[in-house]
Structures are given as structure tokens and as C-alpha cells.
């Protein structure tokens, strides 16, 4: 059976890399004594898949992983047992059986909540700069990859930037592309806004809020629509 779990990666673990997180879950599954299926061959690995890597230093309330078990265990039991042995900051929020759901590797969008420091900003200017950025058809940035630096147009990778404000804070909600077709991090978007504003923006926090699949006709599909089990919030690991 294959399970899909939605989990949060909170502050206490915000600096661990994607690889660290994969290792951590592998060990937690063994501590939970769950019947995890392994790959065959020389170097058996647990059959777990994750959503695309989250940049180090960003917290998330919406990461996903699929785990294959070789024996039936109820979704609730898996969740409860796993939550008992996860380190602070990692927590399964909900889980369900994978059954024709979108493969995690196909996810192509992420929504981020970016909180900015009010003091250093002029709201109107900021709003204008967002508008300007959203209108552009071409935003060329340099990206360093394994094979060197290349120029990428990130304009099509920015789906949408919304602006939320109240008395105490300014927040941007960014929907950005992730996955194989190219990805852009919220920090990069902030950098572009800084260029337009010609000044520094102080970021207070960045949180990944949701991951989704956006179809060509702009339909949004969430990885886990119908969860079979939703875990009660754990007071031990506040986000």
C-alpha cells in the first residue's frame, strides 16, 4: 500500500537540507517500526518519495511524501506512530492512501507567504513594484547550475504575487513554479523587487504554504484532497 502524508517543516529544522530530511524520515520510519518496503539490490533503500526540495532556511506547512508499505496498516496508525518519533519541527498533518493521485514528481507550483518588515518600506512603492514585475514578460536572471551559469527567464515561472497588509505586517503571497519545468525561489523574487525599488527589503520570514499541480487550463489540483486522517495539532512543535 502507498500512503501520502502532508507534513510541516518548522523552525527547529529550518536549516536542515533536503537530503538531511530524507535521512531523518528514513530513520523515523524505522523507529516507528513500520513495514516500509525497500528497493532490491546492493544498496536497499526505503521506498519513499518527497516533493521538490525546499530551500534551506525556509519553513513549510505543506510538504508531502509518499511511503510504500509491504503490509496493511491503517492511515491513522501510521500517522500517530510516526509523529511520536519525529524530531521537533517535523510533524505529519494529515495522510491518506495514494490512489490515482497526482504523482509528487508532477507538482509544478508552490505558494509562499513572505512577511516583510514594515519600517523600511513605502507601501505604495512596493505595490507599484509588484505590479511592474508582474507585467514584465521577460525577467532574465543568472542561475548557477552544476555545468556553470546560465541565463533564465523567470517571468513565466512567477504565477502570481498578491499583497496582504494590516497594521502590523506586510505579507506577500507568491505562487511560483517548482519542479522540472524550472523553479524560482521567493528570495529571487524579492531580489528583483529590490532592483526595481533600488533599495533593500528586509524579509522577516518565508513560509511555504501549499504545493499544487497547475494544469494547462489553469486548474489547481492539490496533492492530498481527501485525507483519511488529520492529526491533532501538536503543541510541542509550533511552526
Amino acid at each position: 500500500m502507498k500512503l501520502r502524508m502532508k507534513f510541516e517543516k518548522g523552525r527547529p529544522v529550518m536549516f536542515i537540507s533536503h537530503l538531511d530530511m530524507m535521512r531523518t524520515f528514513g530513520r523515523a520510519l524505522r523507529r516507528a517500526d513500520l513495514p516500509v518496503a525497500f528497493t532490491q539490490g546492493f544498496n536497499p533503500r526505503p521506498k519513499i518519495t518527497f516533493t521538490p526540495a525546499l530551500s534551506v532556511g525556509i519553513v513549510s506547512s505543506s510538504e508531502y511524501m509518499d511511503v510504500e508499505l509491504y503490509e496493511e496498516v491503517s492511515v491513522k496508525e501510521v500517522t500517530v506512530r510516526l509523529n511520536r518519533v519525529l524530531p521537533d519541527g517535523l510533524r505529519i498533518i494529515k495522510a491518506g492512501i495514494v490512489d490515482g493521485n497526482t504523482p509528487l514528481s508532477m507538482l509544478n507550483g508552490a505558494m509562499y507567504m513572505v512577511e516583510l518588515d514594515l519600517d523600511t518600506l513605502n507601501l505604495q512603492e512596493l505595490k507599484n513594484s509588484i505590479k511592474m514585475l508582474s507585467c514584465r514578460e521577460e525577467i532574465i536572471v543568472e542561475k548557477t547550475t552544476k555545468s556553470g551559469t546560465k541565463l533564465v527567464n523567470i517571468a513565466p515561472l512567477i504565477y502570481k504575487i498578491d499583497f496582504l497588509d494590516n497594521d502590523s505586517s506586510v505579507r506577500l503571497v507568491m505562487s511560483l513554479s517548482i519542479g522540472q519545468q524550472g523553479s524560482v525561489s521567493p528570495r529571487l523574487v524579492i531580489l528583483e523587487l529590490e532592483k526595481i525599488l533600488a533599495k533593500k527589503i528586509k524579509v522577516l520570514s518565508i513560509q511555504r504554504e501549499e504545493l499544487f499541480f497547475k494544469s494547462d487550463d489553469n486548474k489547481i489540483i492539490l496533492p492530498l484532497n481527501l485525507a483519511e486522517y488529520t492529526s491533532p495539532p501538536d503543541p510541542k512543535s509550533p511552526l
Partner: protein, 618 residues
């Protein structure tokens, strides 16, 4: 702002933020209000090195077993984070509660290698604790140290408030008890030092005075006052099944050097290699039983979730029931896909059989440590390996599918000639020939030869011997390079001779070296075992400024009656035995394994009855 909050801003700027984050699974958080003694356990190197070390983990969990003790960890910040800490005035802090280290009751360092000493000074400075012991006052933690390098404590005598000699499991709890009562009585720092000196195994260097002869050698180290012990005997654990061993090890996030569960199977070694300090100071051999190991292994995997468990000892093959143990463990863990790894295995037919069974044959890399290139020199150092043994094991390994062989040697061993160096190269080529005979070609074969330079160590039969000079080290490495270059399948790597020289100085040095350490630290020396940070030139200047001659420590042949800085300690090994061994080495006479015959090394006096029941002493 709390350190915790500050870190969220600062850590994105450093290369490996997980080093400073803490919060690993099984790390321990306690409410400081309910704690009577707060101990910082320090390893003077980066997180991933320190977290791979067993001793500090045992102490961490042992201390935290007690409700009123709280042990936390601290490692040396890497240079990038150190720069930020200095810029932001961030004091060195503990991983668990992010408490500044200067607020602790104790700061305890593990001494695993001499080249970590400058990091100790640097960590003290970053913590805001005076580097020199006598500059500390009632508001500062006690700075203490233990571990193998504490078997010559003198180079750190000015820095440490006291040392723990030998196995610390029992003695730390005695120290904690004393400290609790001391705190309640509200007495002065000095009083505690005098009292703690009464605990067997504790050495308080400031309570001893040192005098020197005209030629610069030691005249004597003696207690300043009556009632302070003349000699400090090492502490040992009598029963390895009874002794505390943790099961809920901290599970790091980042990839550390040894990222697996560790099961200590025994302490000590019976082989008696004459260069080997571990083989002498960890005597006698004491094993844990198969039954106890099985329980521990199960619990460790259940509470850590590690996918690999490694058996730890000086010489895995010598565990008396290795076959039974590995069978039980592989059976136990087959279902949950936990692999077993067997380091420090002597490679022979039996162990190859074993390795094949337990480790989903990792065909990369089999390690052999013949240590010397000719039989004569191997007899001198009492390394009981013959060329025939080695080649036949290599042959078995090649037949079983291995194609990478690592060969470890030492250069500069006492009596070494160029003939012996040539022997190293001959051995390497002989290994290539064996492969050719097995496979008819040499494709895919890799023979990695590596050499380190012999460092004479305290409490070994070679403690009287000089190290070869830096010039000579370079010459011998050059000679080996020229010999090994021609082998297509052979690669050669060597250990930096400058580091070996410094190791030789500090491993047998005296109290006066504290001054060198201080100057070197002031000049910015740290992470000396990291080649990208190490600066030998600064050390050279430090010796000059301190007015001490490195040659005196490294290159001098000691006379039989010279007083050594470590003579103040009793490691349980008789000097007469060491001298006997030295004499035998000169005649290239081997001394068989203690399991065959007892050689009266003296350890029986420490733990009555002896560890093997043989009475035929020589």
C-alpha cells in the same frame, strides 16, 4: 535578543548551519531551574567530527540519566561562523539550550589528538573564559579534560583546572557529587580543586610543582603540599556488562563522519604492537557478553532508527565470540534492513567469510595495515603480520570480487632503513601481481598506499625513541613516491610531516609547552589538522618566541632514567615491561599476544586476577 533568535538571522550566512542548531532526535532538553550541575561537554573540532566520537556520547547520556545533572554539547565553530560570532559578540553557546558556555559549572574537553589543542584555547576565548587556569575565578566554570591525550596532560597543565585519567564513567559521577556538596557549602574555587584531587584518577596540575635539570629535562613533578597523591592511577571499569551504555543516542541531521549506531564490544587489546598507545593504555581487555550486546543492539536500533550498526573496539577480530555475535545480529536485523559493519577487522580467511556474509559486500575498499614494509621491521614493532598472510588474504579477497586495497604503513619507525621503505613498495607491487594471477589482467585494480610518520607516544615501548627529522620525512616520502610512481594501479598518499612533528612534540612535551600553545593561539592557529587552515610558519615563530626548541622534544633520544612528564600518572603499565619490550624490539624479537602468554606488563596489579588465566610469565 536570545541566542536562539539571533541564530535565525545569522545561520543562513554560514556553510553548514546544522552544526550549530541542535534539536536532533534524542538530544536532551531539561529545565535549567531543576538542575544542580550544568556540564558542557566539548569536543575541540567541528560537529561532524565530534559527533562521531563514542566517548563524549557515553558521558552525555550517562550524566543526563541523573535528574539534577544537565549535560549539553558544544563543538568548535568552523571559521566562517567564528568570524560572525566575533563580529556579533556572540559568545560560544551550548547546542541544546543555547546557553553561553561561561555560565556552566563545568566545561569538559575530550582530548583525542594533540592537533586539536589550539581549538581548545580558541573555544575558551570564544566562550569568554580565561584561557589560563590561574586567571579564572569563582564565576568561571571548571575547565577539565580527559581522553587518550590526557595520558600526557602536561602540555595543557596551565590551561586545564584538572584532568580525569582513564575511563571516566565512574569518576565523573563522583566529581558531580562532590561538586553538589561544594556548591551547597558555598566554598571557594581553590577548595574544590584540593578536594577533587582526592578522588582517584583526578589530576590537578596546579597542585604540583615541576623542577628541571640544567639540560632542560625534567628533574621531578611533585605535590606542593602534603596529602596530595604522589601518583595518579588511571581509572578503569571492572565489568563491561554492568557499566552504563547508552541506547538512545542523539541522531544527527547532517551527514557526519561516522553516521551509524555504535556498539562497543570490548576495551583493550592484547596484541602489544610497540608503537601503539591505545594497545597499552586501554589494558586490560574486557569484553561485553554476547547476551548484553544483543540487548543493546536491539534497543539502540529501536530508539535511533539507524540503518547501520558498527561494532567498535581496537581490533574486532579479537572478540572471543565474534562469529556467534555477528550471526545473532544479522538474524536480528535482516527484516528491518539494518546492516552490520565491522571496522578494525584483521583481514584473513575467516573475516573475509564474515565480511561477505554480513556486509552486502561493499566491494570498494579493503584495508590492511602491515605498518612496515619488511618482516624485520614488523618484528621490531611487534606487528604480527607476515607477507604470506597478507598476500593470501589479498588473494582470497580478489577471488571474492574485491578490487580496491588500501595499505597503511608508517615511515620513520625505529631502526627503519631504505631497505624497509623499498619493502613497502615491494609489497604494493606483490599485491598487483596477485591480482594479475587471479584475473589475468590488472584492469579495475586499485592499490592505495598511504603512509603516516611514526610519532613516539607515552606509555609505549618506543617512548624513549626520537622521531625522524622533517628533512628525513620528506626524503623518505620522495623515495617512496619515486618507487610507487611506476605502478599503474598504485596510488600513494602521505600524511603531512609537519603535523607529525607537532604531534611528536606535544605527545611527549612538558608544561612549558603551554606557553607555545598560548602564543600559537594568539597568532591565530586553530584547526591544525585541517590542511586548509593549518599554518606551520606560525608555529615555528611561536616556538621561537617562547624560547623553546622543538628538536629537544621531537628528535631527542631519551635516556633510560629520564623522568617523563607523564611519570606522574600510573597507567597500570610497568616501566620495566616497556623497557623489556624496547630491548626485545632492538633484537627484532616478537612478543606473542597476551592470550598466549602473560608478559607481566603490570596491569594485573590494577585489576586483580588478570584477564587471561595464564601464569607462565617471562
Amino acid at each position: 535578543m536570545t541566542i536562539e533568535k539571533l541564530l535565525i538571522d545569522l545561520l543562513p550566512q554560514v556553510s553548514k548551519p546544522t552544526r550549530y542548531m541542535g534539536n536532533e532526535y534524542n538530544s536532551i532538553n531539561k529545565d535549567k531551574k531543576n538542575v544542580k550541575v550544568h556540564v558542557a561537554l566539548a569536543f575541540p573540532d567541528v560537529y561532524e567530527v565530534g559527533m562521531s566520537h563514542l566517548g563524549i556520547k557515553i558521558l552525555y547520556h550517562l550524566l543526563n540519566e541523573s535528574k539534577d545533572l544537565y549535560a549539553e554539547r558544544v563543538f568548535a565553530p568552523w571559521v566562517d561562523f567564528e568570524d560572525i560570532m566575533r563580529k556579533e559578540n556572540l559568545p560560544l553557546f551550548s547546542l541544546e539550550s543555547k546557553t553561553p558556555i561561561y555560565k556552566f559549572d563545568f566545561l569538559g574537553f575530550t582530548l583525542q589528538y594533540e592537533m586539536s589543542y589550539t581549538n581548545i584555547l580558541n573555544m575558551l576565548e570564544l566562550a569568554g573564559i580565561p584561557v589560563i587556569s590561574k586567571d579564572r575565578n569563582d564565576n568561571h566554570p571548571f575547565v577539565i579534560a580527559g581522553g587518550p591525550c590526557a595520558y600526557n596532560p602536561e602540555p595543557l597543565a596551565d590551561i586545564m583546572d584538572f584532568f580525569v585519567i582513564g575511563e571516566a564513567e565512574d569518576v565523573v559521577l563522583e566529581i558531580m557529587d562532590l561538586y553538589k556538596s561544594f556548591k551547597e557549602r558555598g566554598e571557594k574555587r581553590q577548595r574544590f580543586l584540593e578536594e577533587v584531587a582526592q578522588i582517584p584518577g583526578v589530576y590537578v596540575p596546579s597542585l604540583y610543582q615541576v623542577s628541571y635539570n640544567d639540560d632542560g629535562t625534567l628533574m621531578n613533578i611533585s605535590p606542593r603540599e602534603k596529602g596530595i597523591s604522589q601518583r595518579i592511577q588511571k581509572r578503569i571499569i571492572k565489568d563491561m556488562d554492568e557499566v552504563y551504555y547508552p541506547t538512545s543516542f542523539v541522531v544527527p541531521y547532517m551527514d557526519i563522519v561516522h553516521d551509524r549506531a555504535v556498539l562497543e564490544i570490548f576495551r583493550g587489546c592484547t596484541r602489544g604492537c610497540r608503537f601503539c598507545q591505545a594497545g597499552m593504555i586501554y589494558r586490560p581487555v574486557r569484553e561485553k557478553s554476547v547476551k548484553r550486546l544483543k540487548e543493546l543492539a536491539k534497543d539502540i536500533i529501536a530508539s535511533t532508527g539507524y540503518g547501520e550498526i558498527s561494532l567498535a573496539s581496537l581490533s574486532t577480530s579479537d572478540y572471543s565470540e565474534l562469529k556467534q555475535l555477528t550471526e545473532i545480529l544479522t538474524d536480528e536485523f535482516r527484516q528491518c534492513q539494518v546492516g552490520l559493519s565491522l571496522p578494525s577487522l584483521r583481514i584473513d580467511a575467516f573475516s573475509l567469510e564474515l565480511a561477505k556474509k554480513v556486509q552486502e559486500i561493499k566491494k570498494s575498499g579493503l584495508t590492511f595495515a602491515p605498518e612496515a614494509g619488511t618482516q624485520r621491521l614488523r618484528d621490531v614493532i611487534n606487528k604480527g603480520v607476515t607477507m604470506e598472510d597478507l598476500l593470501s588474504s589479498v588473494k582470497d579477497a580478489f577471488i571474492s570480487g574485491w578490487n580496491t586495497v588500501k595499505l597503511y604503513f608508517m615511515i620513520g619507525l625505529p631502526t627503519e632503513t631504505y631497505e624497509d621503505l623499498k619493502g613497502i613498495s615491494d609489497l604494493a607491487y606483490a599485491v598487483v601481481d596477485v591480482y594479475r594471477k587471479v584475473h589475468g589482467h590488472t584492469r579495475g585494480l586499485k592499490v592505495n598506499v598511504s603512509t603516516s610518520t611514526f610519532v613516539p607516544k607515552p606509555f609505549t615501548p618506543f617512548q624513549w625513541e626520537p622521531q625522524i627529522t622533517l628533512v628525513e620525512i620528506k626524503e623518505r616520502q620522495k623515495y617512496l613516491k619515486s618507487l610507487l610512481r611506476k605502478g599503474k594501479n598504485i596510488s600513494y598518499s602521505w600524511h603531512d610531516g609537519k603535523l607529525s612533528l607537532l604531534e611528536a612534540i606535544f605527545s611527549r612535551g612538558d608544561r612549558r609547552l603551554g606557553k607555545v600553545l598560548k602564543i600559537a593561539h594568539d597568532k591565530g592557529c586553530k584547526f591544525d589538522s585541517w590542511s586548509d587552515v593549518f599554518s606551520f610558519d606560525k608555529w615555528v615563530v611561536a616556538f621561537e618566541e617562547a624560547g623553546l626548541n622543538p628538536d629537544f622534544y621531537a628528535y631527542r633520544k631519551r635516556s633510560k632514567d629520564e623522568v617523563f612528564p607523564w611519570d606522574i600518572l600510573d597507567a597500570g603499565i610497568d616501566k620495566k615491561f616497556l623497557l623489556r619490550e624496547l630491548e626485545r624490539s632492538k633484537k627484532a624479537l616478537i612478543t606473542p599476544d597476551c592470550r598466549i602468554r602473560c608478559h607481566s606488563c603490570g596491569i594485573k596489579a590494577l585489576k586483580d586476577g588478570g584477564f587471561y588465566e595464564t601464569q607462565n610469565e617471562i
